[in-house]
């Protein structure tokens, strides 16, 4: 077994992984990335709508700042997030957007003067400031008080990923493509690297590193219908889970996106609704204002998804061979807007539905979309249990999304989280030596080789593809948008049986190199464990919070459930994870739990909430009325970041008092 040594090892070449790799390489550390595919194919490329950052350039973003972004994010999370992390994130998001411009992202820019937009189905004229001309634009997204989502047409993920991967190439960071990490090498305290398998040759290799960062994205593909790329299978989470010591956080927090096309589940961006698109039922009736009079189509994703499901349950869905759906109507935006700002959506409609969205309504329904849960980390991105194991992006539970993520905050998390955690990874690489224990490397490598031999040479009778489909159906049917105890228990029981059966898989294709069936078999066993953490966590959490919605426990119960679910798998032979909980400390919160602004306020209060609010009021009173917002924030909930990221963000509103904006236009060459 070949052993490869590096300082920083990153598993996953999407935006989050590449950003960490760049931060490490820039500090002079030897850096290496493993990827299932070429970096530019990563699922980051599929993000259409944009990334949130409180630049406040556009007229509809004026008055925006880190405080507003922070508050939106915490409310969006249904108070399930780590507020210190949400602060770190909101503070650095504008820096990340500006850095990406320096790396080549062609952000859509503001044109001064009047333009027409659609707000709440009405044409509205807005007038962009002279001084804003040429600065980075932003569009409206759900759950945000301001227009904050920066974008490049509807190909934001694509242009970000290409710019960041190009940057990584310019720095000479090697990406070992078609390599799949399948085991973490560790001694129970320290992570030493991974064992990986080459998807072309079948070679099993050890990668030894000072730090290992898992940036493998989410676990959407444990569901039958998902907007995720087919590589989003949760193996990164499974790697951590199988160490037996590292924890996963909030795995039951799974987001459904309101508008994926029927039947294939390909996403149409939230930008459709952000730009003014409407949801209609089988009668062509716009129903969202009845449910959410204030936010309408732009309520949080979990809320819109549930309202759509409720409405379809009332018989208002459009019948189709694939079950009921609703309509997304963007015709009112006009051809020009759709062909420039929503052209990917148009292409998807043409190619997969054979319709023209400038004239026809788009058939949509809520579909699995995002994994809020993941590898539990500290605010520096490190596993609390395994030193040297980091995680970032959707793979991680860092945890700024809590139980529901706002649109535009995931793309932002990849590059902002990568920017911050990348520095901590580099710090770790500078302070620590490689740990090389060849017995341990051989043990883990041997385990994987034995597993492969067992699959190829064994006498198993179970069919990988059948088991996988069964798992995906269980998740879809019983662990979906609305959940209840009976169905969740059934899911847990049936998934446990599938896990047991997966130990008796037999392969029809006996090759050891490029063998797609072997690849699926190795993944399936791991995916089943991930699926069980989701189902068991959901079954145990007897409340409704964010995207986790229990019909039998409709209240958000801060008294008993203001905590984070932790899953471990200490016994490799077990058929279920071990769950434990870490409390969210209300007395440390900048924004104590409150009403989120949707439906009835039915939360069961936490006993500390009132106490904390009084404490905050006292802190603010002590500061006096002259204190600025930064001083107030620091007094209520201080947060730390690497020094280079601490400076304040300048905004147009800071300079508008000056007669002239100092920056000059850069013209065509």
């Amino acid at each position: 077994m070949q052993i490869i040594y590096t300082d920083t090892l990153v598993v996953g070449a999407g935006l989050a992984g590449l950003r960490v790799a760049i931060a490490s390489k820039e500090r002079g550390l030897d850096t290496l990335v493993l990827s299932l595919i070429q970096a530019k194919r990563s699922h980051s490329a599929a993000a259409q709508g944009g990334m949130q950052a409180s630049l406040g350039n556009t007229i509809k973003g004026m008055g925006d700042d880190e405080d507003v972004h922070f508050e939106d994010t915490v409310k969006g999370s249904d108070w399930g997030c780590d507020q210190a992390v949400a602060r770190m994130f909101a503070h650095c998001a504008p820096k990340a957007v500006r850095e990406l411009a320096n790396w080549g992202v062609p952000w859509t820019r503001i044109t001064k003067g009047e333009r027409q937009v659609i707000v709440n189905a009405q044409k509205v004229t807005i007038n962009e400031a002279e001084e804003a001309h040429g600065l980075i634009n932003a569009r409206d997204f759900g759950g945000t008080k301001k227009w904050r989502t920066c974008y490049t047409a509807d190909g934001t993920g694509h242009s970000l990923l290409y710019a960041v991967d190009n940057k990584a190439i310019s720095l000479g960071i090697p990406v070992h493509e078609r390599m799949e990490a399948l085991k973490i090498i560790h001694d129970g305290k320290r992570c030493q690297g991974v064992i990986a398998r080459c998807l072309i040759t079948g070679e099993v290799r050890a990668y030894i590193a000072k730090s290992t960062t898992i940036a493998t994205g989410g676990y959407g593909r444990i569901y039958e219908v998902s907007t995720n790329a087919i590589i989003c299978d949760g193996i990164g989470q499974a790697l951590a889970l199988e160490t037996g010591v590292a924890t996963l956080g909030n795995m039951e927090a799974v987001q459904f996106h309101p508008t994926a096309i029927v039947p294939v589940g390909i996403l149409t961006t939230e930008g459709c609704r952000g730009d003014g698109g409407l949801l209609r039922d089988k009668d062509g009736y716009r129903f969202m204002p009845d449910y959410e009079p204030e936010k309408k189509e732009l309520a949080s994703r979990d809320v819109v998804s549930r309202r759509m499901t409720e409405h379809m349950r009332k018989g208002k869905g459009v019948d189709s061979p694939y079950g009921p759906h609703l309509w997304l109507d963007i015709t009112l935006l006009g051809r020009k807007h759709i062909e420039t700002n929503l052209r990917e959506v148009k292409e998807i409609c043409e190619n997969f539905l054979g319709i023209d969205p400038t004239k026809d309504w788009i058939p949509v329904r809520p579909t699995q979309h995002y994994s809020m849960g993941g590898i539990r980390t500290t605010p520096t991105g490190e596993s609390p249990q395994l030193s040297g194991l980091f995680s970032v992006g959707e793979a991680a539970c860092w945890d700024m999304h809590g139980f529901n993520r706002l649109g535009g905050n995931s793309l932002a998390e990849t590059v902002v989280g990568g920017m911050i955690i990348g520095k901590y990874v580099a710090d770790f690489g500078e302070k620590n030596n490689l740990v090389i224990d060849t017995d341990l490397i051989n043990r883990f490598g041997g385990e994987l080789i034995d597993e492969i031999n067992g699959l190829v040479d064994g006498e198993g009778t179970e069919n990988t593809f059948e088991l996988k489909l069964a798992m995906q159906k269980i998740m879809m049917d019983y662990v979906g948008i609305f959940r209840n105890g009976d169905e969740l228990q059934q899911a847990v029981d049936e998934l446990s049986q599938l896990l047991k059966r997966s130990r008796n898989i037999g392969l029809r294709c006996k090759k050891r190199h490029a063998n797609p069936e072997l690849v699926e078999a190795l993944r399936l066993r791991r995916m089943l464990k991930v699926a069980l953490t989701v189902a068991c966590g959901a079954n145990a959490r007897t409340e409704s919070r964010g995207a986790h919605s229990r019909e039998d426990f409709p209240q958000r119960n801060d008294k008993d459930w203001l905590n984070r679910t932790l899953s471990t798998w200490p016994d490799a032979d077990a058929l279920a994870p071990v769950l434990s909980y870490e409390a969210l400390d209300v007395m440390q919160m900048e924004l104590p739990p409150g009403y989120r602004g949707y439906g009835v306020n039915n939360a069961i209060a936490h006993p500390d909430t009132e106490k904390r609010q009084q404490q905050i009021d006292a802190i603010l009173a002590n500061l006096g009325i002259d204190a600025d917002r930064y001083a107030k924030q620091a007094a209520i909930m201080p947060f730390t970041l690497p020094d280079e990221l601490m400076p304040l963000n300048q905004r147009l509103s800071d300079t508008l008092n000056c007669a002239v904006v100092s920056a000059t236009m850069v013209g065509d060459k």
């Binding site: 411009a101 634009n137 310019s170 493509e177 190619n351 593809f465 797609p516 300048q650 147009l652 000059t664």
Partner: protein
């Protein structure tokens, strides 16, 4: 709904790592379902008939560019190719030519694209080294940003390379993908490189002067990128920048 028909696939099979294997075409049949794409059909084939079949898909939504292959003689993205597009129900699948074959329909476009990026330095080389990420960004003309995005939409699927006659004859030719990316950075006011700099990279037979203008790239590009316009533009720029001042 009319009765489901049978789609007959003829698929190129070859395992280059198996010394005893020889390239061959193998026939399969699947029952067509409404909205079936080549992505759906190939997965059904692998799951139900032949688990050794190799092919690549990632996003399955026409976004990532991983599933380019030759379908009935035309290089294109398989994920968004509907089986309904073929009235006779006969579909022949071949791997993209011009790339290292991994097996069956899977080719190594990643290796090609990375080498191309390193060779042509396909990343932004900005003049604005003093950019301070804590302060307001440098403004950019909104039209320039929109134009850049138009050219930035390439997904590196490799279709243009496979559809290029010059590339088939000249291994070192940069292809439309290389020129499109050069054009993208040439247009970008943030990039310091000039036409003279680009001349040293593509002002030769491997670049703009190797193109024989058959425009398979333009015809086949799944993102409808304006290759013809960009190649003509670059060729003119390079002619002006050439030491002999061709123009």
């Amino acid at each position: 709904m009319s009765q489901a028909r049978t789609i007959r696939f003829s698929i190129f099979r070859f395992d280059p790592q198996d010394p005893n294997d020889k390239p061959k075409m193998v026939n399969y049949e699947v029952t067509e379902a409404p909205g079936m794409t080549v992505f759906i059909a190939l997965n059904m084939l692998r799951e139900q008939q032949d688990p050794s079949l190799q092919f690549d898909f990632v996003c399955r939504a026409g976004i990532c560019g991983s599933c380019a292959m030759v379908i009935n003689g035309k290089p294109t993205l398989a994920c968004r190719t509907l089986t309904a597009n073929y009235p006779k129900g006969d579909i022949i699948l071949m791997p993209l030519p011009g790339f290292e074959l991994i097996g069956d329909l899977s080719v190594n476009t990643g290796k090609f694209m990375r080498e191309l990026a390193e060779r042509l330095q396909l990343w932004l080389q900005p003049n604005n080294f003093e950019s301070d990420i804590h302060r307001i960004e440098t403004p950019m003309d909104p039209d320039e940003a929109a134009k850049l995005y138009e050219l930035d939409r390439c997904v590196e699927c490799g279709v243009c390379v496979s559809a290029c006659a010059t590339k088939q004859m000249r291994e070192t030719f940069v292809g439309a993908v290389g020129m499109m990316k050069i054009a993208r950075f040439e247009l970008d006011s943030r990039d310091t490189r000039t036409a003279d700099d680009f001349y040293h990279v593509i002002g030769n037979q491997d670049g703009v002067f190797g193109c024989v203008t058959l425009l398979g790239c333009q015809d086949a590009c799944p993102k409808d990128l304006p290759h013809m316009q960009q190649i003509a533009y670059l060729r003119r720029k390079m002619a002006i920048a050439s030491p002999n001042r061709i123009l």
